[in-house]
């Protein structure tokens, strides 16, 4: 397989409908009006030299090597900044332009290292390639004059360096930071000869506002900005297109390789979710795959207090099978279950739920979506008819008003956030509903029109109040409602929201959001030509999470903002394959494709395929599994790629449940926190080590391709298959494509999906005979359920109350450089940005408690306590504190409560009553847990043979 190098057309594509025909070097070319001569030439395979131009950025016209001649026009205009015109005759190779190009290139080379063989970009340098294309044969002026050749290299960033000596100040990096990433961290400092690329105001890259997305590195034509892995290893020799294993954006990358060694991950220009952009995690934080903490051999132990003992795959799988059989024989078939992973592929999650249903004979299967977006599934299914977001990411380009609710895209979904920021800079308006002043509220060139800093736990009140304004001020899209929605449900809902108790003036009293702000936000959203809702876990992780999702759906239907581009209700999924793990039937009440287990016709499909009779009753959800473990009716679990001890709420409750079980099997890359309570450890494989698919937040099914052999010899799907075989089932898949074939055969929304099709490009489900190329926008000609269903969303205050002992409200979230429980990102250089969880606290609350910035503080709730450092900031409102859950040393979830969403049991992470006080050291729990972890991770030495 060769190194994939996408064609660079030099300037962006024009979207104009009008076509223009011109002649370039005697060849007739027809392109859309507004296309540059450079791009038109490239469309005709005529490659004009260029340095400052690249097709991901607007034309700049500074490097002067792309000059051309146009018949009837004076001079030698830059082909990148000159648009085509009808009948234009262009010459790109005349002696005049050749001479100018050589002269310009020669001048560049007077101030550039001439180290062709030893240069880290040797063999893969756009700059060197252009010198070759232009035909420079000498540098007449030498390099003895004043130059930048000995400038200090900035190596502060852990992943890339900046060598000013190689910089030609073409501004591609600065423009990439502006146009692609929209962060504005880079600039050109100084004038004339003194001009140079600078990160911030004379800072190093690491300490500047740079977010290490890599856009500048990718844009650099000279290798001035270059990945350190390339400097260390040399240039890659082949590449494989695959899909990132971090957030729900699902970016496509080229894994650029030397043999089976990853040299770098470069965002793929043709990736439909990311269009060639990336963030610090996907672009750089893949080193965990080779981290020394990886466990590469299966391990077992009799008791969780014993040290681990390395064993063969056969012995480990045999133990899993015999223990699960023994438990079922003793305690019944419903006494064991599985937890599938949103970090694993669709095929792997499908097999794990199949293991529960076909092999165990029960529906005790759940997934980590339980603790994040399960309310999305319930809420959107109830209102629209299907459990998924309505749009593709590209839809944001048509949005005129965005309402971001309980999400922090610049940290959680950074590549999509760049698209949002771009659209906002083009003039779209923004409403943010969040207790914290997230970055989007105000950042360079982006400012929200309205920020509703609501009190945690009052989402439903505020969203219903927005509906009150829309209904009582006559802002409903009556035609849409009449044509597309259930009339009776709408009438009931409209009467409910119009009640005075739902008015902004009343809701202001509980939410803390001024009534006028609520009214203004409602008017802005309802008045938009295209209003789009984007939301995250700040909506779902509440005792009324499902109600809040339905409240959002109500708003979209009432204003007609559904069923076309630029609108919709869009859950920003947390993990890479949350959508896929839900689609694959991971929930205990649903078979793949969100079909209820009680539906005999659906069960018959799988009974025919699998040759067993399926249980028609729903199984246990994760919190129920823990409760059932404590009462003795649930005794064994196979957990693939999840760390429920660190990620799930009320840690003490979780650990007590796991400790009560007889056989806990953890299948993971590392000895995670849950493995402290495991009896069998099965080593997992990273996304680099297996084939499969991930499905992102826009329902896009993307291929994941193996670029190296599984380091522990088996891919995760093979491990699950071995368990099934050891328990007596003849599973004989030889490739994940066969699993997808089974999924397509049994799931109508996936009927048209094959690996062959996906190899031609990703598709968004539903993909079937009705929509053979997939479905970018849902509900275009009618809701999946028929008519849109308005649901009454009565506000029910949480029972997690503040009081004298716990007067503050804790809400939790994540940060850009870390991912979920941090198992991967903590084992990369990303720790340079975030090496511990910190507690954000408002200056007033800090002063009242005698807490200074950086102090160690005790964070206590009714569930437990931990200690961490305080960061004093007015990003949080008085009365609210915030932290992340990335680090096991903090164990933020020892503090969170057992309260959960009424419909789905999704935990109420976002509202915990706490107290904060100065502390001298770790809490008792932290001390005990640290000791337990040290004991639990002992691995017996293997006796010498």
């Amino acid at each position: 397989m060769p190194l994939i190098q996408e064609t660079d057309y030099g300037t962006p594509e024009s979207s104009a409908a009008e076509q223009v025909t011109l002649t370039i070097d005697g060849q007739e070319v027809t392109v859309p009006a507004g296309t540059s001569i450079m791009r038109a030439a490239m469309e005709a395979d005529i490659r004009i030299p260029k340095l400052c131009a690249t097709d991901s950025l607007e034309a700049f016209g500074s490097c002067r090597v792309c000059l051309c001649e146009i018949e009837g026009r004076a001079g030698t205009p830059a082909s990148c900044t000159t648009p085509v015109a009808p009948g234009m005759k262009v010459s790109t190779t005349g002696e005049r332009v050749r001479r100018v190009r050589r002269g310009v290139m020669e001048l560049y080379l007077t101030d550039h290292p001439i180290d062709g063989f030893t240069s880290p970009v040797a063999g893969n340098s756009e700059f060197q390639e252009m010198a070759g294309l232009i035909g420079v044969r000498e540098v007449r002026y030498g390099q003895d004059g004043v130059n930048h050749l000995h400038s200090e290299i900035d190596v502060s960033n852990p992943y890339f360096q900046f060598d000013p000596a190689r910089c030609i100040v073409c501004s591609r990096c600065v423009r990439a930071c502006e146009e692609t990433q929209n962060t504005f961290a880079l600039t050109i400092e100084g004038r004339g000869f003194a001009s140079k690329v600078a990160a911030g105001a004379g800072e190093q890259f690491l300490t500047s506002e740079c977010v290490s997305c890599g856009a500048c590195v990718q844009a650099c034509p000279t290798g001035s900005l270059l990945e350190k892995t390339v400097i260390e290893l040399g240039q890659p020799e082949h590449s494989v297109i695959t899909t990132c294993a971090y957030c729900g954006v699902g970016c496509n990358f080229k894994a650029e390789m030397q043999g089976d060694t990853v040299v770098r991950m470069v965002p793929w220009k043709d990736g439909k979710a990311n269009h060639g952009h990336s963030c610090v995690k996907g672009r750089f934080a893949w080193g965990y795959a080779n981290h020394q903490d990886r466990i590469l051999k299966p391990m077992m132990r009799e008791k969780i207090t014993d040290p681990w003992r390395e064993v063969s795959w056969e012995e480990a799988i045999g133990r899993v099978a015999s223990e699960f059989k023994r438990i079922q024989a003793t305690a019944g078939k419903n006494s064991i279950g599985v937890i599938t992973s949103s970090r694993c592929t669709d095929e792997e999650t499908y097999l794990v739920q199949k293991l529960a249903r076909q092999v165990f004979g029960n529906n005790n299967t759940d997934t980590c979506a339980r603790v994040c977006h399960s309310p999305t599934g319930y809420g959107l299914r109830t209102t629209f008819g299907t459990s998924a977001g309505t749009q593709d990411f590209d839809s944001v380009e048509q949005a005129d008003v965005m309402m971001v609710v309980g999400a922090n895209p610049t940290d959680g979904h950074p590549v999509f956030a760049s698209r949002m920021k771009k659209r906002l800079r083009q003039g779209a308006k923004l409403i943010v509903i969040d207790p914290r002043r997230i970055d989007l509220v105000r950042m360079p060139h982006v400012e929200a029109s309205h920020h509703l800093p609501l009190r945690p736990g009052t989402n439903v009140a505020v969203l219903t109040s927005l509906a009150h304004v829309i209904v009582t001020e006559g802002l409903v899209d009556a035609a849409f409602v009449r044509e597309r929605c259930d009339a009776e449900a709408f009438a009931d809902w409209a009467a409910f929201v119009a009640e005075p108790r739902n008015s902004p003036e009343e809701v202001a009293k509980v939410s803390g959001v001024p009534a006028e702000t609520i009214r203004a936000a409602a008017r802005l959203y309802a008045g938009a030509r295209n209003g789009a809702i984007y939301y995250g876990l700040g909506v779902t992780e509440h005792s009324q999470g499902s109600t809040a999702v339905m409240a959002l759906a109500n708003l979209a239907m009432a204003t007609g903002n559904i069923g076309r581009r630029g609108v919709g209700v869009n859950p920003l999924r947390g993990q890479n394959n949350v959508q896929g793990s839900c689609d694959m039937g991971s929930f205990p009440h649903e078979l793949p494709g969100y079909r209820h287990i009680s539906d005999s016709a659906v069960r018959a499909i799988y009974e025919g395929e699998w040759g067993v009779t399926l249980d028609a009753e729903p199984g246990l959800r994760i919190p129920n599994m823990i409760d059932a473990a404590l009462d003795g009716s649930f005794r064994g679990v196979y957990i693939q790629g999840e760390d429920i001890v660190q990620s799930d709420p009320d840690t003490k409750h979780i650990t007590a449940g796991l400790a009560a079980m007889e056989c806990v099997v953890v299948h993971d890359l590392f000895l995670n926190e849950t493995a402290n309570y495991a009896h069998v450890f099965l080593p997992g494989s990273t996304f680099l080590e297996k084939d499969g698919t991930f499905i992102n937040a826009e329902r896009r099914i993307n291929l994941v391709r193996k670029v190296m052999a599984p380091r522990a010899s088996l891919a995760d799907w093979e491990v699950t298959q071995e368990i099934a075989r050891a328990m007596g089932l003849e599973w004989n898949y030889t490739h994940p494509s066969q699993i997808m074939d089974e999924i397509a055969r049994t799931t109508p929304t996936f009927a048209g999906v094959t690996y062959e099709k996906l190899a031609q490009g990703s598709v968004q489900w539903p993909c079937n005979d009705t929509a053979p190329e997939g479905t970018p926008i849902m509900h275009m000609n009618g809701f999946v359920r028929g008519t849109g269903n308005f649901v009454i969303t009565e506000y029910v205050p949480t029972d997690e109350k503040v009081g004298p002992r716990f007067p503050l409200l804790l809400t939790t979230g994540r940060i850009l450089s870390q991912y979920n429980v941090g198992a991967q990102t903590r084992r990369t250089e990303n720790v340079v940005w975030h090496h511990e969880d910190v507690l954000e606290i408002h200056p007033h609350d800090a002063e009242e408690r005698g807490v200074r910035d950086g102090d160690l503080v005790r964070l206590a709730s009714r569930s437990g306590e931990t200690t961490l450092r305080a960061r004093i900031t007015d990003r949080v409102a008085p009365g609210v504190v915030y932290t992340t859950f990335h680090h096991p040393a903090t164990q933020a979830n020892v503090v969170t409560s057992d309260y959960s969403d009424w419909a789905t049991n999704c935990p109420e992470y976002k509202v915990t009553a706490v107290q904060v006080s100065p502390s001298n050291g770790p809490s008792e729990w932290q001390e005990e847990y640290r000791e337990l972890t040290q004991r639990s991770r002992r691995i017996e030495a293997v006796p010498a043979k």
Partner: protein
């Protein structure tokens, strides 16, 4: 499973459907318990019906499930 916790969760469900007409609300609560609760959770409440604090609509729904189970 703790009957009190199950009762709390059932009452949460009941609050969501409470705005509906009486018979619809009872049916919706029962339907939710049927569709989303493992049978041992339902039986966990049924076994302690006299001890747990259930809102009236929820008690009716759970009683209906009990009646159906005994048939």
């Amino acid at each position: 499973m703790s009957p009190e916790k199950l009762a709390y969760m059932a009452n949460q469900i009941g609050k969501f459907f409470a705005h509906q007409k009486h018979d619809q609300a009872v049916a919706a609560i029962a339907d939710h318990l049927d569709k989303f609760w493992d049978p041992r959770m339902r039986s966990g409440i049924l076994a302690h019906l006299d001890e747990v604090q259930l809102d009236p609509l929820v008690r009716e729904a759970v009683t209906a499930i009990a009646a159906r189970s005994s048939q």
